[in-house]
Symmetry: C2
Subunit: 243 residues, 2 copies
DNA sequence: CAGTGGTCTAGACCACATC
DNA sequence: ATGTGGTCTAGACCACTGA
């Protein structure tokens, strides 16, 4: 099958690239099993050790998960693997603000503004779906999210989101569009809350908010989602670990 | 030398643990070279491949840096390796707020308050040094830092910091106390600026700040430094990449 | 039981650094 | 010329899984 290119790249890197491409193509879907190391080694005409190195690199990046005695599986956000990897907002009491209570405020067609278009590398005013949701813990509103999915990558997202109200958007885009989110970038700022935000999050005049702008990238490095997350300053913390 | 324990741990993990311990002990100082894979394999009575796996794991964690044809070196914050790994504050124009302009406001003896003591796992009111610094870019004050180093781990820090005014504290503790910082945790909040902060950072009444509380850990997992970073909300951004 | 990933060995060749 | 890490192979044994 996979004739390897005559580049100067090490073989295991070429194998990894090819395997990633095959995962992206949908040959192996999230949650499904890959052929064994020996089968792949046969296929590529290489030793098992070389294929192993390629797969281990993918496992390290979280693209696949290995289980001794069973096999290698394409990572899925639906499964139990690495849940909440991208959720870094917590309550003051250290409780993760997760997908439990996502109240859908609106989901409607929208056009990408300049900032969104640049972030998602799509034309200005490109069509898509904009969703606003509220996250609560024990009934108390803590933060709201506004996110945009382009119609090009995620056609029909509006109707599907309204129908499902999915807790995790990344699980949603994986199921519907075979897009596996593997990386996000976030920019955080502090600023004064607007009147709308004060009303929505139950904050007094002059209160501050913690605002994150996020871009989520798929396995192929393609920007998929733009998101704004706004948390009430006195109720939310952003916890980060580096190194 | 290193008699390996009869645990159920894989050999390469035991080797890694032992090598880490030897780095910690100061046997090989930051910036210095480790014995070659073959020498270490001889020493431990294992094959070169097993030692390689141990060293590769350390390299992945950033404890050592490998250079083909030269050797394996203990990572140093003084060298050119991974500078600014822990600096995530930027100006509005995407410029990293780095060590260029660190204005020392004060360095004086202090006692750990409850929060600091808990974070650093030291007794309440333990002695140490507290430093306050101001970071500017092009003369404009953007954020200030207040950090605490315990007298136990970093004796005489006050005098040394006053004498040197080091740009990078992690480089400083590495040189003076052989503590290599490999991990930090940060908690971010937004809040209204205090009067002192408004004066220090040149902000109007009602302005918000972005506040990070950080704990820095050494190679051994020991908490070394507690730090508060406060940035003017309208001038600073915290940029993060996950995955 | 056969198949899987996890570990470990022993050897080979390469490109690169240094002297 | 020698020594280093980087790659690759071929084989071994293990623990775990699932039929």
């Amino acid at each position: 099958m996979g004739a390897l290119k005559p580049t100067a790249q090490p073989l295991y890197r070429q194998v990894k690239q090819d395997l990633v491409k095959r995962v992206l193509s949908g040959e192996w879907r999230p949650g499904h099993i890959l052929p064994s190391e020996f089968k792949l080694a046969d296929e590529y005409g290489l030793s098992q050790g070389t294929v192993r190195k390629a797969i281990e690199a993918m496992a390290q990046e979280g693209l696949v998960t290995r289980q001794a005695g069973k096999g290698t599986f394409v990572t899925s956000h639906d499964g139990d693997y690495r849940p909440f990897r991208f959720h870094k907002f917590y309550t003051n009491y250290g409780q993760r603000i997760a997908s439990d209570d996502a109240y859908l405020i609106s989901a409607k067609p929208a056009f990408a503004d300049k900032k969104i278009a640049e972030s998602l590398e799509i034309p200005n005013r490109a069509a898509g779906t904009q969703v606003v949701r509220l996250r609560r813990v024990e009934g108390e509103p803590l933060l709201y999210e506004r996110f945009f999915l382009s119609e090009q990558l995620c056609p029909g997202a509006e109707a599907a989101i309204k129908a499902e109200n999915p807790g995790s958007i990344y699980s949603f885009v994986e199921r519907h569009y075979n897009l596996l989110i593997t990386k996000v970038t976030e920019s955080l700022r502090a600023r004064e809350a607007s009147a709308d935000e004060r009303a929505l999050l139950g904050m007094p005049i002059g209160a501050a908010v913690l605002e994150a702008q996020r871009v989520a990238y798929s396995l192929g490095g393609e920007p998929v989602e733009w998101r704004l997350i706004v948390g009430a300053a006195d109720k939310t913390v952003y916890a980060n670990e580096i190194g």
